[in-house]
Homo-oligomer: 155 residues x 2
DNA sequence: CGTGAAACTAACCACCC
DNA sequence: GGGTGGTTAGTTTCACG
């Protein structure tokens, strides 16, 4: 899966302006529209570009709170991990979840309207998943960086 | 800033399919194209929709590693916080950064191509920011949830 | 909010280099 | 792999009910 300089430029631009048209994009990357469109389709087909999304203001949509939740499991057997993974997929409040190195736990960012609804999330959803040894919540006061575009590789 | 049911539906759809056309969107929300387009413009103008981005596969772009970095400052004076905030804005490797409650520190997700480039990020960038008391890095093995769409408010 | 018409543009294809 | 031209189809935008 090789990406040349033009592919990387296309990806960089579309990360910042996901609705840009083929014509404008082609001009910006120095191609004519047809090969530019071909590249975009190829990037989508290869799974480099996985979709297009509108970025929204979380506060304005009534979800001002982000909580980072660390979850440790009772044991690290593969079935336990898979079960947990399957269960949490169904929880809409979790925006992202990572398996971490070290004590083999999970780190997730949960969004909520207020502390009450976060508590409900804990009591009615997360703590009901079997196999959890501990849960730790850390609250975010404010987000100071939200970047849409991945850095370039240059070292 | 009131959003009715149709606005929320528009926002929900565009979070999952950011390139959807006015016609199709209008049909899905039960409106004719003109008022639907008017609503989208209004949502953008009010700052509910802040932009459109292509979602990409981080691994395929050569950045397979995510690291959660907790930074604690020497002191919590406003100037120290603002200085830190200003400095880290310039670091492309930081995809998101939150100010946390409690010990008043920062939590950020940093992406890297490999451990070497992460170490360079630490040594050449992050540790050179003045006023840092401690830095803790936790590595993600794998991301199991990446959600584009915020949950609905329903309680 | 909806309709209809006008103007514009974008996407697509076959073909050539 | 990139470029051109032409056709088609669709989109946006407006004035108005």
């Amino acid at each position: 899966m090789k990406l040349d300089a033009i592919d990387r430029k296309i990806v960089a631009i579309l990360q910042e302006e996901g609705r840009m048209r083929t014509n404008e994009l082609a001009e910006k990357v120095g191609l004519s529209p047809t090969p530019c469109a071909r590249r975009v389709v190829a990037l989508e087909d290869r799974g480099v570009i996985t979709g297009y999304t509108a970025s929204v203001n979380q506060e304005m949509l009534g979800l001002p709170i982000s909580i980072f939740v660390s979850v440790e499991l009772d044991n690290q057997r593969a079935e336990a991990l898979q079960l947990f993974e399957k269960e949490v997929q169904t929880f809409d409040e979790i925006m992202e979840c990572f398996i971490m190195t070290g004590s083999q736990d999970f780190l997730m960012r949960v969004v909520a309207a207020d502390l009450g609804s976060y508590e409900r999330f804990l009591q009615e959803k997360l703590t009901r998943v079997p196999g959890i040894r501990s849960i730790r919540s850390r609250f975010a006061l404010r987000r100071i960086i939200k970047r849409d575009r991945l850095p370039n590789l240059s070292h």
